[in-house]
Assembly symmetry: C2
Homo-oligomer: 325 residues x 2
């Protein structure tokens, strides 16, 4: 192993950011290097820092503010996990804010890194999203499917990917973009996102609470656990750039199941009494949104590069029970 690495995490107070930091604290290393120091940035301060063998420096502020990028790049992190961003619903509701944070903020970060090169060439792992894709879709979305987002969030992620690839090609940074599938089971309370029910129908019954299915039980969707998402980020941090080649943005694997298969898995894992808490309550508005989403991805390149999702939905449920414990 070479000298200890400095790691920067933007968006560190988000669900994935917090889980990533706990994982890094546990491992003490990432990308084949001992972690010497971790800088965690978000607009709100991380409240619940894990204990670690390395110092964790918490920085707080607006990611898209003029001075933030230069301030973060001054840390000279060897590995940057760029998770910061305005989420899908907010980016759609507040056009200016979405573009300011997701596009301008990302570009400012990349440009601050560029200003520091040559001599600085960090691995940058960018959390992208399946929202870069827009329907209609084939049954299985191939790796070479075009990106035609149908949301401002997806557009901003697509532009982040494009910048990442170009800045990498020009030698300014060493980027990998990973398109995350729907994260399931999301911890916390039910939310109003159209995708929320995919998690609620598992999480709520396991907590002894009722849950409803707003779509057809035949609806197929691709999921990865929060733990798998963190695995993807950590794996991306250590990937050999030469193996990736110029196409730096990778569609991550996941578990493609129907809602019915989700429920069958829940019954196998937790028993029939849990499943009885679920009932159908069709919601045409939600179904209309969900039916525009892709069902399955080939994710061949990511699999070849060693990214691994859970083998089945039973495992996704067990990961949730384990994380919840």
């Amino acid at each position: 192993m070479s000298e200890p690495a400095t790691v920067l995490v933007t968006g560190s107070a988000g669900m994935i950011g917090q889980k990533l930091i706990r994982r890094l604290a546990l491992d003490g290393q990432v990308g084949g290097r001992i972690i010497g120091r971790l800088v965690a940035h978000d607009i709100i301060a991380l409240s619940d820092l894990p204990s670690a063998d390395f110092p964790i420096v918490v920085k707080t502020g607006d990611f898209a503010a003029v001075r933030t990028a230069a301030d973060l790049v001054a840390e000279r992190a060897d590995i940057i996990f760029h998770l910061a961003g305005v989420v899908s619903g907010e980016a759609e509701a507040d056009f200016d804010k979405g573009y300011r944070v997701n596009l301008d903020g990302t570009r400012q970060l990349f440009d601050a890194i560029r200003q520091a090169s040559p001599g600085y060439h960090p691995r940058l792992v960018f959390a992208s999203s399946m929202a870069v894709f827009g329907g209609p879709f084939p049954d299985i979305v191939p790796d070479d499917f075009h990106v035609t987002p149908l949301s401002s969030y997806g557009t901003q992620k697509m532009i982040g990917e494009a910048l990442l690839a170009d800045y990498t090609r020009k030698g300014f940074l060493n980027g990998v973009g990973i398109r995350l599938p729907t994260i399931c089971v999301r911890p916390g309370k039910p939310n109003r996102a159209a995708s929320g029910f995919f998690s609620s129908i598992i999480r709520e019954p396991l907590d002894g609470k009722p849950a409803t299915i707003p779509v057809s039980r035949k609806t197929v969707h691709t999921h990865a656990s929060p733990r798998a998402a963190v695995d993807f980020l950590v794996h991306a941090a250590g990937l050999d750039g030469a193996l990736i080649g110029p196409r730096r943005n990778l569609t991550m694997p996941g578990v493609a199941v129907s809602v019915n298969e989700q429920i069958e898995a829940l019954e196998r894992v937790a028993g029939g009494h849990v499943v009885q808490l679920i009932r159908d309550e069709p919601d045409e508005a939600v179904a209309a949104i969900v039916n525009t989403w892709p069902s399955r991805f080939s994710a061949s390149r990511a699999r070849e590069l060693g990214f691994r999702a859970e083998p089945d939905f039973d495992t996704i449920i067990r990961v949730h029970l384990d994380d919840r414990a």
Copy 2:
């Protein structure tokens, strides 16, 4: 027909811009509307204005300057042809300039239009490029092939396309992006662009001058004449947005021929004595670049939407002779 339309052309002093303005002057109408006024913007003034039944206002300045977009949008053009941009080689050599003009300039134009909405909703035709694609390629590049550019120019065009689609989806403008194939026969002198020989081997012998082929004669490439490119722009101006749907960026058709087929066409059109002026002079550097380019495109959507390229390369040569006359 409705009331006379105002037309704005950015990049109006470029080869395509000038040909477009001559065409509009000749037609006196575009997109089903009589032209009442045309505003031509470029960093250099148009020297050779055609006579027209409508006034042509020439504006000169840096497209990416802070005030330019608002100044141009104040013209309240009904139809905007956005051709302005730093070309491929310059965007690659001058990273800052390429992003400033091709990305920031385009975004400023779109944002100025957005500031003027609701109440203003122009048709905006964006000249994009096949450079949004990056190899390796299948034999025929389908319409749903991913965009993974291998140049800063291609990246900037891809981002322009993404913004155009999102701003259109949000109702801020009514955009159509058209990905132009290689324009052949380019008028003017031989240039040092790697694609230059595709035009030089036709244009120079027709002028009684020698020309060299730096690549294998089996190399297949897709071409459209300058006249076809102008036809695409004009056709895009009048397209019903509802027919296009949310995928606003269209790969244009062209004539896919090998270098050998180009030369056979030249012999048919101009005779064997002209073809004798061409000789092979392999240039590995040029061949290495050209071999990373796509050969053929399906362009199915564009054809369905009524975009028409020349039927064969003979016609492309005849168009050149006609335009040259």
